[in-house]
């Protein structure tokens, strides 16, 4: 073995690319095998692997450094093997989030999944961290290769997911690990000589082989698709995969789908034959057989969502979230004059229009129908057209749920600003109709009502009470918001609509309490009471005292689906024996539990090695270990806070969460990488200056970050109609200066620390990574409570703190 004078940069870049690709891929894989709630856990898991590796290298470098070459190759190959192996093991652990509070064994299973998935990141990070330690005199070069590789990995995985299945992409990632090991073995001349060839052979086998049974995904048995496929004679008739989701079309000849959500109990018709369309195993949406005859579609008039068609005469309709075409068929059935349908996933439209053209009757090319590929809110913001009816029916945070990202489900569809946009796109007298599932006690419907009231007030409406209608069936509730006052003729029509279908009126202007609670009887007319309270002077008090969070969602707090309040938790837990647990909103407490788990893991992996290794971590001039901890923790939190807040902010501009993640992550990594390279020059330039280099960096970062909070919404608006490529380029351009400055504090600190001790370098690296473990989850939690802007402000404050710690 010969001592190398330069680090294995290509292998480092490749490993970083593979690890970042793996991180994004895991989000997709978990959306498919479980649900999308685990995205934040994945980010934290990755960071944990990185942090653990930092601590491991710090403690063991006396043993590891003399064997650098072999350890590097083994760890790189280990990444390749564990990336696939640990995922397969994790999906066989049998973790079932639905049983989380019933079965005391489930948290343990979650912990096992957490530990297993951090292993591949541990392997990749061991390589990188060890390289930093081994070549402590060249941190800038290593860091920029590391970070440029990672940036490339985020974008490359999107490309990979466009051409292969998620299971296939998993094999490619495994192969990349082996290729990195082979490159390193070659570069570092690790014996035996045939090792690089053997590793490349292994990589080729993985990459070329189509995903086989052993690497198959096993979605939870409780997912809708799994339950459907347990029925005899059901079969998958088409499958599509893209970064937007895994689509499965299922035929069930023996027991037809008959999807008619909340159909009136007075209706006696049966829906026509349907195929079930599942996205990531969730659903189904119905692909309904349509032969141009309207009679079989009569069931679509027996849904609460049909109400607006009884108050408007042959309207021009905008259908948001058109999916497999159910709402378009409903509009056709009711004789809509013109229909614009917006669907985010082109593969679904393609299935409806081409693969199943004979079956579907091609509703998207029927007379008067235009289909647009795009995200709903984005489409509305980017177009100036006005409509008589905007229809959103049972549309969940489809971006988030189909892409599996940032799952405490930020949704820009149901915010005050979004509702204002929709109302701005209505003709005078036009209606916005939003249909949601009924839950008890009311949550969705009241939060939506509160959001609509706030939107109307924000548009300057003096009497929102005259512009709203809320009706409910046994399963769905429909809210109408009118651009104008509801007329008495419309009230007559809506009463007739509800009466003939046994739906209840919950609110309309001038509602008579005697009309309440007639058909679907509730113990108390809670929908009506809630609506009145939200229109009255005690609105704030009502929202505050309600046991679920029904405060309006905003673009700064885009968490419509979050109803959890901590103070309700003990009461619901106490009501477990009576079936109280299902009323808990799971995502939030699980997020908090994951934060605790991550914090404990970080303490264990950072503070423990810190104390154990304390004897060996000597003071560097000006740097006590507490100062190092404070500095690297502060910049770790700050970087992650800004990154996650900007991912969420750019969703609105880039129209899809997955693209926002890929583009924002990539831009941050690449430009932070460039900033990191530049930092040494800055250091040299400012040598002896009054304001230290970090001072300049923090001032610049603060200026960029804070001014973006003010200017981004203004800048975004006129640029929205631009094509995707232009918006992606603009996004990268906007992020570039901010990321460039944010890339500097880490290497500046590292270079300063490395002046005295190698041990401290790995240790600083570990602290920084573990701060990121916690920050990934904490950023989302803070955003839920304080809003995204507050998270950014907090990050700037942390940078200031870091500047204080730096000398």
């Amino acid at each position: 073995m010969c001592r190398m004078s330069s680090p294995p940069l290509a292998a480092v870049a490749l490993l970083s690319a593979a690890a970042l690709g793996y991180e994004v891929l895991l989000m997709r894989l978990f959306s498919i095998i479980l649900w999308h709630h685990f995205a934040y856990m994945i980010i934290s898991v990755a960071m944990l692997g990185y942090g653990a590796a930092g601590a491991f290298v710090a403690l063991m470098q006396r043993q590891l450094l003399p064997r650098f070459e072999r350890v590097f190759v083994a760890a790189a190959a280990g990444f390749g093997v564990t990336a696939i192996g640990c995922f397969l093991l994790a999906q066989s652990v049998g973790f079932n989030p639905l049983e989380m509070l019933w079965d005391p064994g489930q948290p343990l299973r979650l912990l096992i999944v957490y530990a297993l998935l951090s292993l591949p990141f541990f392997c990749a990070a061991t390589c990188v961290c060890l390289t930093f330690s081994r070549f402590a005199d060249a941190p800038h070069r290593i860091y920029s290769f590391d970070i440029l590789g990672a940036g490339a990995g985020c974008l490359a995985i999107l490309g990979a997911l466009s051409v292969t299945s998620p299971a296939g992409a998993l094999q490619w990632i495994g192969a990349l690990g082996l290729v990195a090991a082979a490159l390193a073995a070659q570069r570092l001349r690790v014996r035996p000589r045939w090792l690089p060839a053997a590793l490349l052979g292994g990589a080729a086998v993985l990459a070329i082989n189509s995903p086989s049974q052993w690497a198959a995904l096993h979605p939870s048995g409780y997912k809708d698709l799994s339950q459907t496929l347990a029925i005899r004679d059901t079969r998958v008739v088409a499958e599509r995969s893209s970064p937007m989701g895994w689509i499965t079309v299922v035929e069930s000849p023996l027991i037809p789908f008959r999807y008619a959500p909340g159909m009136s109990l007075n209706a006696i018709m049966e829906p026509p034959p349907q195929l079930g369309v599942f996205t990531d195993g969730d659903g189904p949406a119905a692909l309904t057989r349509y032969d141009g005859k309207s009679e079989p579609l009569a069931y679509l008039d027996a849904l609460t969502s049909a109400l607006p068609y009884h108050l408007l005469e042959r309207p021009r309709v905008l259908v948001l979230g058109a999916g497999a075409g159910g709402d378009v068929l409903q509009a056709i059935y009711h004789g809509a004059r013109e229909i614009d349908a917006v669907e985010v996933n082109p593969q679904i439209v393609d299935l409806v229009q081409h693969r199943f053209a004979d079956y579907s009757g091609m509703p998207y090319s029927a007379t008067g129908v235009r289909v647009h590929i795009g995200e709903a809110r984005h489409f509305v913001m980017a177009h100036a057209d006005r409509f008589e009816l905007i229809q959103m029916s049972l549309l969940d945070a489809f971006g988030a749920s189909s892409a599996g990202l940032y799952a405490i489900s930020e949704s820009y569809l149901y915010t005050v600003e979004a509702l204002r946009e929709y109302l701005d796109h209505l003709e005078p007298g036009g209606l916005l109709a939003i249909t949601r599932w009924v839950n008890l006690p009311p949550r969705d419907a009241l939060k939506l009502f509160a959001t609509a009231v706030a939107a109307l007030e924000a548009r300057g409406s003096e009497r929102p009470a005259l512009q709203l209608v809320l009706i409910r069936g046994w399963k769905t509730a429909t809210l109408l918001v009118k651009n104008g006052e509801v007329t008495s003729a419309q009230i007559v029509a809506l009463k007739e609509f509800c009466h003939s279908r046994s739906f209840d009126v919950a609110y309309y202007p001038g509602i008579d309490p005697a009309e309440l609670n007639r058909f679907n009887v509730l113990e108390r007319p809670e929908f009506h009471e809630g609506a009145l309270a939200l229109l009255g002077p005690q609105r704030e008090a009502f929202i505050a005292s309600y046991k679920f969070n029904i405060a309006p969602a905003t673009d700064d707090h885009p968490y419509f689906f979050e109803f959890f309040k901590w103070r309700t938790l003990p009461e619901l837990l106490a009501l477990k024996a009576q079936g109280g647990l299902p009323l808990l909103e799971w995502a939030y407490p699980v997020l908090a539990a994951t934060l605790v788990q991550a914090a404990l893991a970080s303490l264990l992996l950072i503070l423990l090695p810190l104390w154990i290794g304390a004897g060996r971590v000597h003071k560097v001039v000006g740097w006590s270990r507490w100062r190092v901890t404070a500095y690297f923790a502060a910049i770790g939190f700050a970087f992650m806070f800004i990154e996650i807040a900007f991912i969420q902010k750019f969703i609105l501009f880039l129209a899809h969460p997955l693209y926002a993640v890929a583009v924002v992550l990539c831009a941050f990594l690449v430009f932070a990488g460039l900033g990191s390279r530049y930092s040494s020059r800055l250091r040299a330039k400012l040598h002896g200056a009054r304001l230290q280099p970090l001072g300049w960096v923090v001032v610049a970062t603060g200026l960029f970050a804070l001014s973006y909070l003010v200017f981004l919404p203004v800048v975004f608006r006129p640029l929205l109609p631009l094509p995707d490529a232009a918006r992606i380029a603009l996004s990268i351009g906007l992020i570039a200066p901010l990321a460039f400055t944010m890339g500097m504090p880490f290497p500046l600190g590292l270079a300063s620390v490395a002046g005295g001790s190698r041990d401290l370098v790995a240790w600083a690296w570990g602290i920084n990574a573990c701060a990121s473990v916690v920050a990934a989850i904490l950023a989302t939690l803070l955003a839920i409570h304080l809003g995204l802007n507050a998270v950014v402000v907090l990050a700037v404050a942390l940078y200031v703190l870091a500047a204080v710690a730096y000398r």
Binding site: E99, Q227, A230, R258, W474, E526, K547, L572, L575, P582
Partner: protein, 249 residues
């Protein structure tokens, strides 16, 4: 003589083992019986306290008596037997669950089953709910779409002597014309809407119960009541005594 003593010791050990083996199910069953009593008592107590708060009648004695008779541990997969009498839902395979016992009691109570009633169940699952209903009704017809579940439930019900239960594999949407009309119906299979044929097969004065929610998480219950004049009224029932407003009623 030594060998004899040894032989004798061995023989008695052996016979003790045989006796123990023979007694084991009996002991286990006794154990389960005790657990079942505890479960029923817990349900009755919870129902009484909820009733006291709400002023509504508690779960009827007939229903709790039925729960006390049905060996729930015989209706769960072997690896779940230990938890059979816990007041929680359990997995039964194929992405399906057996409901939390309190919810079973509440649903059964809402159906108001009389000894001369004919009852339909759509979604047999484990067969436990059918067994509970069979304790109360004249006959129970139950349909399951997942074949292996249907087969297993039928075997269990036969083995436990529930001869008044008729089972069928297939589509529950059209009900079971030959068995009906029904005094009450329970639809535990997920449905996007209430199948119109089931409403037709419900006798005037009959009641239908549909739990709404997902596996492990029953959100609320839908009670469909057919008046004697054939008109339909539904009620949405939250199983739990919970008011959403602080200081609410």
């Amino acid at each position: 003589m030594m060998w004899r003593r040894h032989f004798g010791v061995r023989l008695s050990l052996l016979s003790a083992l045989f006796v123990a083996a023979a007694l084991r199910p009996a002991i286990a069953d006794n154990d389960f019986a005790a657990q079942r009593r505890d479960m029923v008592e817990e349900i009755a107590a919870v129902a009484r306290s909820a009733a006291a708060e709400s002023g509504k009648p508690a779960i009827s004695a007939a229903v709790t008596a039925a729960l006390a008779r049905v060996p729930r541990h015989r209706f769960v997969p072997p690896d779940q037997e230990h938890a059979a009498y816990e007041n929680r839902p359990l997995p039964i395979g194929f992405g399906q669950t057996i409901s939390q016992p309190y919810i079973v009691a509440l649903m059964t109570d809402l159906m108001r089953v009389e000894p001369n009633h004919v009852v339909l169940e759509v979604g047999t699952g484990s067969g436990y709910q059918a067994a509970v209903l069979a304790e109360l009704a004249q006959s129970v017809c139950t349909i399951e779409i997942i074949e292996p579940l249907a087969v297993e439930a039928q075997r269990r019900l036969q083995q436990q002597g529930y001869t008044r239960v008729r089972t069928k594999t297939g589509d529950g949407y059209y009900g079971w014309e030959d068995c009906g009309p029904f005094d009450s119906i329970i639809v535990t299979a997920a449905a996007s809407h209430v199948p119109p044929p089931l409403i037709r097969q419900l006798k005037p004065g009959g009641r239908m119960v549909i739990p709404v929610g997902t596996a492990f998480l029953t959100q609320h219950l839908l009670l469909v009541a057919k008046n004697t004049d054939g008109t339909i009224v539904t009620r949405q029932v939250l199983p739990v005594r919970f008011v959403p407003l602080t200081g609410g009623h």
